[in-house]
Symmetry: C2
Subunit: 358 residues, 2 copies
Amino acid sequence: MTASTLSEVAKLAGVSPATASRVLNGSARTPAPEIAERVRQAADTLGYIANAQAQGLAKARSGLIGLIVHDIADPYFSAIARGVQAAAREQGKMVLLATTEGTPADERAAVAAFAARRADSIVIAGSRSTQPGDKDSNTELAAELDRYCRNGGKVGVVGHSIVGASHPDGYHVVDVPNEELAAKLAVELSAGTQGDFVIIGGPEGRLTSDDRIRGFQRGLSDAGLPEAEVIRSRFNREGGYEAGLQLAARIKAGQSGGTRFCIFAANDVMAIGAVAALRSEGLRIPRDALIAGFDDIETLRDFRPPLTTVSLPLEEIGRLAALGSSNDRDGSEDASAHSSVTGTVVLRRSTETASAPG
Amino acid sequence: MTASTLSEVAKLAGVSPATASRVLNGSARTPAPEIAERVRQAADTLGYIANAQAQGLAKARSGLIGLIVHDIADPYFSAIARGVQAAAREQGKMVLLATTEGTPADERAAVAAFAARRADSIVIAGSRSTQPGDKDSNTELAAELDRYCRNGGKVGVVGHSIVGASHPDGYHVVDVPNEELAAKLAVELSAGTQGDFVIIGGPEGRLTSDDRIRGFQRGLSDAGLPEAEVIRSRFNREGGYEAGLQLAARIKAGQSGGTRFCIFAANDVMAIGAVAALRSEGLRIPRDALIAGFDDIETLRDFRPPLTTVSLPLEEIGRLAALGSSNDRDGSEDASAHSSVTGTVVLRRSTETASAPG
DNA sequence: ATGAAGTGGGAAAGCGCATTCCCATTGCAT
DNA sequence: ATGCAATGGGAATGCGCTTTCCCACTTCAT
């Protein structure tokens, strides 16, 4: 037994499919109340559920919003996903998920898949990479997105505008002031710290990571401090762990010169990994080293010692990206090519210089 | 400018739409290589992307798999989502996301929405509730799912079979031995513990929570210990926190009778909340109380003190649910109504009775 | 040389719905 | 009473694709 169709409902109600369509799925024209009731009853007894695919075909809109993330299990992305999901819900849409592990080629494929499904809009989160090896893929990604826009799609971008993308009004980017906030963090940290600064960053070319590193360096410089050394690693917990091991060895070898290293990890998850590594080497935070992260991941807030970080309204970011790229076109002016959020530096115990009582 | 269509491609290639369809999207019949090449070229120059909605309509399959979770930002669910996503990818499908906050009414709506989109299968994660107030909604949820199955849909269920659902072969449930594992945890904990056991559980009627509580009690009983008190709270971090505050007050009032409470929180996130509460009251783990969780959430593994818990292969669970409900029907026998996973008790510092050196 | 079997492309009929147009009916003003 | 606009339902078309069926042509066996 297959699902019942509109015409079956119409037949049962003794009306035409057109009328049934009008009453069941919103239309400008509203049939007479008595007829409407009959149709609704028929639909009910048949357990009618409109075929969204057919509707999409007929209306050229799908009610779908595509979401591209690196890894849905990464708390950074899942927080954004929650925001996107909330926005989708508000608009009566559904979200389609794609994970890409950050590779531009997969992102391109995801965009194509979304385009195939005629997603009304696409939200692309997660920093793109500008590594030389990814150059072609990036160009193709931009091309694919442009094509999608040209065909009427809207795309919401978290963080930076897409490199190479050029369609005039198809993109809505949610600016995240990674650089400024990282600078601010550096300034605030430098106030009460005397040890050397070290940065644990993602791979070179990872935009978000690069922004944060650049900002942090600028902050140091603004505070009259020398540039910090940068250790490159993967942009996840394991990357942080590995970098942490390196640092631990150096700390134990006395390379921190009598003072504590102040470590800045480009995101919270890396910071946690680094802390785990330091601990596994018998070092303690903040006794033997200070450390700060970025993002203020919710699940990590109960971590000990509490992690100094930059709090970002991730859910809101997701919401804005989804809303900004919604098809409320006929744009209220041009006001909507960008929206921006702000974050706040949150100093916590992991960077406290006065040795804690406990 | 709107996306180009199959017939445009066909025209450009000088063939019929039928032929174009055959070469571009897999078919049993394969046109001549030379023609195929021409079609492919035409598709390429036009930037043709098949309209999945139209394909879905024509083929009566959508290539979509619906995923229902309480909250995508909850690490438990996002881990499962990752598994589902992986399975979807293997099968060349996409996942459609719905979040419900655990309310049966929303779950019902999500199922209906998936049915409307003609999702090939639905994975429903997250414990259903059997609270009296939800009874009707639950019945409706079951009815909706049954209807979906009757129309040819497959549903993968994480944890328990759907209460009230009855369609013979539409459901594939991934059994999670919550009860057994909780019992095992209780037994292992009781070995080295003398204090009273206390359970922090979710609201009554929450299936997963109830299973774990029941199992834990059984384990205690098997070990010859009296039944533990159960504190009911919300099934998330805040719930754990609130329960933790209550317990902290009692511990400080000396109600633990000279020994330490051994707290079992029905999931890791609650456990973390409880730990945070105890800490905020100046208590320390495991010095002042022991605590164990359930799930072994990845992001929480670096937590201090390391949390005793039950490790569950969440990603695998998601995979199995998605795969098991995939339309490889013509079922290899009936072998596939269930699949099961197993977990392991992981004893860590949070329940160590020998007072730690540090 | 002839027919049967096989090969490969095209025409056409939907898939389930929205929507445009058309037509019958009604209400009103004249 | 007559004409007009407004109202509301139905027929038909098309959204973009798959798939069945048909037909022209080739190839082989006889």
